[in-house]
């Protein structure tokens, strides 16, 4: 029996954000926006959703008088991502 894919992760932009963050310690908001080719507004909303469920940590500070937002994946986020990939592999194996 297949397990349902995590609805938080099973979304194009949120999955892209988590896939970027899984391989790094932390990444700046601008890097994520450029890499995912998304708009700042849309990305902010999706990042907030990931933060609300505890999958990522968001740190806001100032650098050279400009706001700087950095994101990093949490332990809960890593676990959720690993489960998501495992379930995904099970789906693909059957197909």
């Amino acid at each position: 029996m297949f397990k349902d894919l995590d609805p938080i992760l099973h979304s194009q932009l949120r999955l892209a954000v988590m896939s970027l963050l899984i391989g790094v310690k932390e990444a700046e908001f601008t890097f994520i926006r450029e890499s995912t080719n998304s708009t700042a507004g849309n990305l902010s909303v999706q990042i907030q959703k990931l933060k609300d469920v505890g999958y990522i940590d968001v740190n806001k500070k100032f650098k050279d008088n400009y706001p700087l937002t950095t994101c990093k994946i949490t332990r809960k986020g890593i676990d959720a991502f690993e489960i998501y990939v495992k379930n995904l592999q099970e789906y693909l194996k059957v197909k």
Binding site: S11, A16, L20, G23, K25
Partner: protein, 228 residues
Amino acid sequence: MSTKNILTEQESLNIINEMIQKTKDNYHESGISALLWGTVVTIASLVTYAQYQYNFKLIFDIWLIVFVAIIPQIIITIQEKKNIKVKRHIDPAIDAVWIVFGITIFGLVVYQNIVPNATLNIIKEDGWEMMIHYTNGSKPDKILKPFAPSIASIFILIYALPTMITGLATKFKPMIIGAIISYVLFIFSLYTINKFDMLFCAGAAIVNWLIPGIILQRRYLKKLPCNV
């Protein structure tokens, strides 16, 4: 990229692969620091060799350029930190290795400069001294000032350490090869006099930093990914 929730499993997998690849591709190391230290240590070693070989002495110690090079290195580090948009898990560990390397080299320079005089004082207090005695009697005996034998070999050995760690950790072959060549040069230097040790020192600086630095710089200018 949209927020669509109707993703097929294959689409999900493609997104994951694409994003992981983008993270890898984003990391560009300019190689400026490697170029700087490769050049500085090569010049200092070759000038020292030339001083032995052609019997002249500069009005200043050429190795002081190593300390002068710390200033541009600090500026480079600050600039690079400013421009980094992504921090990798491995970065703090690699930074730590190079900081410890710097401290170790500084410690070795202090050792090299303090130990001879300190030893001289200790043995003087003990009431004895070291002498050079020519077994064939060709020259009269003379007092020998204590020195750290083949200290350049130790420098070569330590040069290879952070390069090998960085090369292995980041899978950057030029650094791994450079460090291996350094270990070979270290062995050679054990059997040669200080003059030739300086050539091995220059060789170690070239293979450890200068060549990897040139490779990194070329990749950086071409915007090719380099996970170092």
